[in-house]
Chain length 214, copies 4
Amino acid sequence: MGISERRERDRERRKNEIIDAAENIFFRNGFENSSVEKVAEAAELSKATLYLYFKSKEELYYAVCQRAEGMLFEKVDKAIKKATDTSTKIRAFLNAFVEFQQKNKDHFDALFYLQTHPFKLDPDNELMIENRRRDQIYINHWTELIDQGKKEGLIRDSLDPIRTVLLIWMQLSGLLKIASVWQCELHKELGFSRDELLDEYYNILFNGIKRDKQ
Amino acid sequence: MGISERRERDRERRKNEIIDAAENIFFRNGFENSSVEKVAEAAELSKATLYLYFKSKEELYYAVCQRAEGMLFEKVDKAIKKATDTSTKIRAFLNAFVEFQQKNKDHFDALFYLQTHPFKLDPDNELMIENRRRDQIYINHWTELIDQGKKEGLIRDSLDPIRTVLLIWMQLSGLLKIASVWQCELHKELGFSRDELLDEYYNILFNGIKRDKQ
Amino acid sequence: MGISERRERDRERRKNEIIDAAENIFFRNGFENSSVEKVAEAAELSKATLYLYFKSKEELYYAVCQRAEGMLFEKVDKAIKKATDTSTKIRAFLNAFVEFQQKNKDHFDALFYLQTHPFKLDPDNELMIENRRRDQIYINHWTELIDQGKKEGLIRDSLDPIRTVLLIWMQLSGLLKIASVWQCELHKELGFSRDELLDEYYNILFNGIKRDKQ
Amino acid sequence: MGISERRERDRERRKNEIIDAAENIFFRNGFENSSVEKVAEAAELSKATLYLYFKSKEELYYAVCQRAEGMLFEKVDKAIKKATDTSTKIRAFLNAFVEFQQKNKDHFDALFYLQTHPFKLDPDNELMIENRRRDQIYINHWTELIDQGKKEGLIRDSLDPIRTVLLIWMQLSGLLKIASVWQCELHKELGFSRDELLDEYYNILFNGIKRDKQ
DNA sequence: GATGAATGAGATTTCATTCAT
DNA sequence: TATGAATGAAATCTCATTCAT
C-alpha cells in the first residue's frame, strides 16, 4: 500500500512545483500574455509533461488561483480568530482582505481575474469541485459572523447574512481592483490615496449595516 | 469650402461604421480573443484600411469603450434630469448604472475591462485626452449631487463628495460584474437573484450615507 | 515661353525638396527599412504626390544616390584642382574619396548600396541616362590623371588607365565599407584603427602602381 | 546512452536540411526579399518548426553564411596546402577567393551581405561565438603566410601581416562584388572582362607588397 | 513518467502602389 | 497639381496542444 501512496505524494509535490513556476509566469504577464511554454521552462519541465499534470492552460491557472484563495482564506481566518469580540472580528475580516490585496497583489489580481472572466472548465473537474466545497465552508463561516453581530445588536436584523457577505466581497473586490489600476490617477489628478478611499468605505459600510439607535 | 468639411464628415461616418463592426466582434469574443482581421471583415474593409482610422487594436477598443461610456453617461444624465428632488436623483443615478449593466451588458463589460486592465495608449492620444475631459465633467456633475444632498440634510456632512462618488462607482462596478459572472451559481446554489442582492446593496448604502437622525 | 520654364523650375525645386526628405529617411533607416509613407511625411506631401515626381521607391532612391554621387565628384574635382603636380593630384583623388566616406558616411553608404545591389530601373530612365553620362565624364577625367602620371614616369607604363581607375574605386569602396562596419571589432579585437589600415593601403597601392626604378 | 546521441544527430541533420532550404530561398531572393514562410515551404516544414531550430530569420541567415564561410575557408585551405612555396601559396590564397566568388556566387554574395550589413544577433549567440573563433584561426593562419613571405624576402618587411591580410580581404571583396554587379556594363561599355580587371589587380598588388630590389 | 518534435491556425502590423476626385 | 482613401499581399513570430518514443 505504501507504494501507491508515495506515488500520490510525489505527484502532489510535482504539481506544486509546477504551480510555483506558473505563479511566476502568470503573475508577471497575466493569463493571456503567459504561455505554457514559459511555465514549462520555469518549471524545468517539458511542455508535454505539464499536460500530464494539468489538462489545459485554464486548469493550470485555476490551480494557481485555488492556492491564492487558500492563502486569502487562511489570512482572513487568522485575523478573525485573533480578534475577541464580534465587532472587531468583522473589521478584521475586511482588514485581512484589504491587506491581502496590498501585500499579495499578484494573488489578489489572479483571483479577481478568475472571478471576472467566465472560465470554462468542465464542471466535474476535480479542482473545481473541491474549490466549490471550500468556498461554501468559508461563506458559512462568515455568515455566522454576521449572524452573531445581529444577535449582539450590532447589525441590523433586516440584513440577510449571506447576501451581506457576498455583497461585501464583491464590492470590496471591485473597489480594491479599480483603485489599484487607477492608483496613479487618483493620486495625481484627484489628490487622495487608496487608504483615504478605504476609510470612507469603512465609514459608509459600517454606518450602513449597523443597527439603528433605538 | 464644403469639400473638406464633407470629407471630415465622411471620415467620421466611416469611423463610426468601423466602431459598429468592432462592437460586434469585441462584444462577442472579448478583447483578447478578437482579431483586427475579424473586425475588418465585419466592417467589410481591408485590415490595412482599419489602420488608417485607428492606430492599433488598443485604440480601436478604446474607441468602442468611449462610445459605451458616452451611452452610460447619457443614460445617467437623463435619469437624473427626470427626477425632481435630490433624493430620487441620487437613486436615479444608481438605477441608471444598474440598468445600463442589465440592458447593455456588452457595453458595460467593455467599460469594465478597460477599467480593470492597464491599457497603454500614448498619453497624448486624442481619444484619451477627450475622454479624460469628459470623465472630469461627469465626476463634477455627480459630486454636485452629493453636495446638494448634504445641503438638504440627506447625507452626512462628513462624507467627501468626490471620494463618495468614486467609491460608489468602483464598488457598484465590481458588484455588478461579479454578480453577472456568478449569475448562475447565485441562483442555483445560493438561491437568490441579482435584484435581491442589489436591494440589499441599496439598503446598506443609503443607510450608510444618510445623515444620522438628530 | 516664361511660363513653361517657370513650371519646369518649380517642378525641379519640388523634386529637390522631396530628395531632401528622402535623404532624411533613407539615411536613417536604409533602403529596405524606409517606407514611401515616411518620406512623404517628411516632405509634407501625400504619398500619391510623391509618385507624381518619382515613378517608384527605387527611382527615388536612385535620385538620392545621384545627388550623393554629385557631391563626391565635386569634392574629388576640387581636391584635384587644388593640387599642383600629378603625384599629389592622384593622392588628392584618393584622399577626397576617403574623406567623403568619413564626413558623409550616409551619402557614401547610399552610393555603396546602389553599387552592390542590382537595381532595376527601366534602362531608358532619364535619371539613369544622365547619370551614366556623368559617370563616363568622370572616369575619363580620372584616367587622364593616370595617363599623365605615366607620361611623367610616376606610374608603370604597363597599367591600363581605365582598369586602374575602376580597380581603385572598387577596392577602396569595399575597403572603406567593410572597415566601417567592422569598426568596433577592428579596434577592440585587432587593436588598430581605420586610418592605420588606410596607411597600409596607400603604402601598398602606391608601391604597386609606381614605375620600377631603372 | 545511444538514444540522446542519436537525437542530437537527428537534430543536426534536420538543421542542415533547413539550411539547405534556406540557401535555396535566400540565394534566389536575397535576405530582405526572402520570407521565413518560403524557407519553411522549401524545407517542407511548418514555420513554427523552423523556429524550433533557429530563433529568428537573422539567425537562420547567419547559419547559411556560416556554412558559406566554411566552404570558402576550406577551399582556401586546400589551395594553400597544394602549393609548395610561399609565393605560390599567397597566389593560391587569392585565387581560391576569386574562384569561390565565381563558382559559388551565391555563397559569396551571402557572405558579402553579412559583412556589409550590421547584423544584430545577441552577442552570446552560439553560432556567433563559434564563428568568431574560426575567423580568428583563419586570420592567424593567413598572417603566418605573410610572415613567411617576409622571412623569405618576398614581401616588404615594413608591412604589418594582419593589416595586410585584412586589407586584401576587404579590397578583394569589394572588387569582386562590384565587378560582379557591373559585369554587364564593364563588358559593353568599357570593353573588358572581370578577368582582365583581376589581372591588373594582381599585378598592382604583388608589385605593391613585394620587397624592393636591393 | 517524461519529452523533443511538430504544427495549423492565427496574431498584429506594414507597404508600395493606384485611383477617383 | 495634389491628395485621401483603399487594399492585396505579405512579414515575422507565437501558441496551445498532440504524439511517437
